[in-house]
Subunit: 360 residues, 2 copies
């Protein structure tokens, strides 16, 4: 059994070598930890700032064995970790965080919404289906228009379709590939909020103030934080975060996306059991950012403060937008974060900029 | 010729793999740069967060050739870089910053004080000597008590002796090893201040507010910043920083240690042509810290803001003091920085803690 808290010099394993893994590695290094990254591609953004790099598939037994050998604890930069990988790491005696249940819940939209409702957290109405006939039944149950999504592997707006008429349900199901789907009632929301929360091994919880998110073409464009929310909404968000984290006996940072409806009601849209793009503002708006909080939690350390010292507008730099680095670097209020990706592909998250303003 | 500003993805070479190199590497990574570290010891603190590690002596031609091949620009974490290394890098066509002259000035206490006085910056009275007879003359000229120091390679209080009587001069010279020395008049100072300043490739200068330093046994224990200084002192410090940086046509961060005398007069004690221990408070007290500023300057980027958003007390963690990491991590006002050093040797700088307070 691993003894927590892990002392400095311990090795934190990370599945995934992208920007989230990179920023986790930088935060871990500040606290005196070494990092081991497992990632299929060589020369990944995270591997270039990590003490150890293992190049291999996420479910490659020898790569997982090497990661387990190097690491005192293992965490993830994304939620679609193969269940087999988590099981293999557990068999190898390596503690993983967040727990397998959190990953399982976040990997399947039906499991996610079912979990949330059971935990007393409201979501849109939904129904599950795993064949064409079931899809039609699900649409009939939820009503039209409805949003049909694959249960697994969708992200950034991919793997989903609007169903305007009941008669279109089977075709939509086929167009999504015939995999199990969830059918969701539309949320007539005023805005999307998200909250970054963290739970320590001992159960301590810390919550950042919520951010307000703006998407373009299904991809996050901008988060403004702290969002202006009513006192009632703030309390409701805190309660939701506590419910979710405690119900999962969660360890680490979680990103919770919420819809704020007319009248102020809040529905949870999605969970990300990891550091989250909508929490990047904490890097320059708070003393301890989401990356350090995650490392602290995973390593069994006490959590840090979550109060902001600046208001931040975080904007993602997608594809060629990152070519504006020189102009952005010259803006006195802008803190630039670039991910070290070799190619500026269209829509690819290349970096982000945090623009700082005094707290109101 | 290297074209500046260097685009993200460029490689910043660093001579030295200790904590300063490590914190430079972390700052460079945030801006999308890769780092190559040259350091004699394998598994160094900086190498473990860098994309490339070259293990070799600082004057090993093949190690320098490898560093030059990897790097778009080379900088240093310490000033005692062999002149031969700088010359070799220049022959290999790699731009280095800060410049050779800044290193030469900082490596020799007589050259340093001579440079300062020529730049119109006041120091204590001093005289140079390179043999026993000269040492006696120098002490006679400066008066007793006087502080005799080796011209080169002294740091953290090593390589220096007080001379109380003229008759002791030759013995002190011998005790210091017979190398060239400087004899300095004592500075009857109220306190030691230091200022971290940075100059960009285009000549732009940015200056952090000064810190007040407290030493124990010749080693920095604590820096409090911003120090409370009179408006006149603040202006004088700004003038001194400008004089030094412009006279050296300097590129990068410099640490300038000052004595504040009774009556407010300021003397420069020492220059560190690099990021400096007394500037670690900027990591948590300012939006852009000294490490990012140095990377920006060296890469030909515009500088960032230097205004503080918190008052900080920075305390070094020496040797076994770093064993208190768990208690320090639990202090809500404390931001912990640990260097990843494998052994807690007595007096060794293992990390530091920045304690944050609201600006007065």
């Amino acid at each position: 059994m691993t003894a927590f808290p892990l002392p400095p010099g311990s090795v934190i394993g990370v599945l995934g070598g992208g920007q989230l893994g990179r920023m986790l590695a930088l935060a871990a290094a500040r606290l005196g930890f070494d990092v081991a990254v497992l990632e299929p591609e060589a020369d990944s953004p995270a591997a270039r700032v990590a003490a150890h790099a293992v190049v291999g598939a996420y479910d490659d037994p020898s790569a997982l064995a090497r990661l387990a050998e190097l690491s005192d604890v293992v965490t993830y930069e994304f939620e679609n970790v193969p269940a087999r990988a988590v099981a293999t790491l557990a068999e190898l005696g390596v503690e993983t965080a967040p727990c397998a249940r959190a990953l399982a819940v976040a990997q399947d939209r039906v499991a996610e919404k079912t979990f949330l409702n059971e935990a007393g957290v409201a979501t849109v109405a939904f129904a599950a289906a795993h064949d064409a006939a079931g899809a039609a039944e699900a649409v009939a149950q939820v009503g039209v228009p409805a949003l049909m999504k694959t249960c697994r592997d969708g992200y950034d707006g991919k793997g989903q379709r609007w169903v305007e008429h009941l008669a279109d349900a089977a075709a939509a199901f086929a167009a999504l590939g015939g995999d199990p789907v969830i059918v969701e009632a539309p949320a007539d929301f005023m805005r999307e909020l998200s909250v970054i929360a963290v739970r320590a091994r001992g159960g301590e919880i810390a919550i950042y103030p919520p951010g307000e998110n703006h998407h373009e073409n299904g991809v996050l464009r901008r988060t403004s934080a702290p969002a202006q929310v009513s006192r009632k909404a703030a309390e409701q968000i805190e309660r939701i975060a506590h419910q979710i984290l405690n119900s999962l006996d969660y360890v680490g940072v979680i990103g919770i996306e919420l819809f704020e409806l007319k009248g102020g009601r809040l529905l949870v849209n999605e969970l990300a059991p990891r550091v989250h793009n909508t929490g990047h503002w904490t890097q320059d708006g708070c003393e301890v950012d989401q990356f350090e909080q995650h490392v602290r939690a995973v390593a069994g350390w006490p959590l840090g403060p979550t109060e902001p010292h600046h208001r931040v507008e975080m904007t993602n730099l997608l594809g060629e937008e990152a070519a504006a680095w020189a102009a952005l670097a010259a803006e006195p209020e802008s803190r630039l974060h670039l991910y070290g990706k070799r190619e500026m592909k269209a829509g690819r998250k290349m970096g982000h900029v945090n623009r700082l303003h005094p707290l109101k």
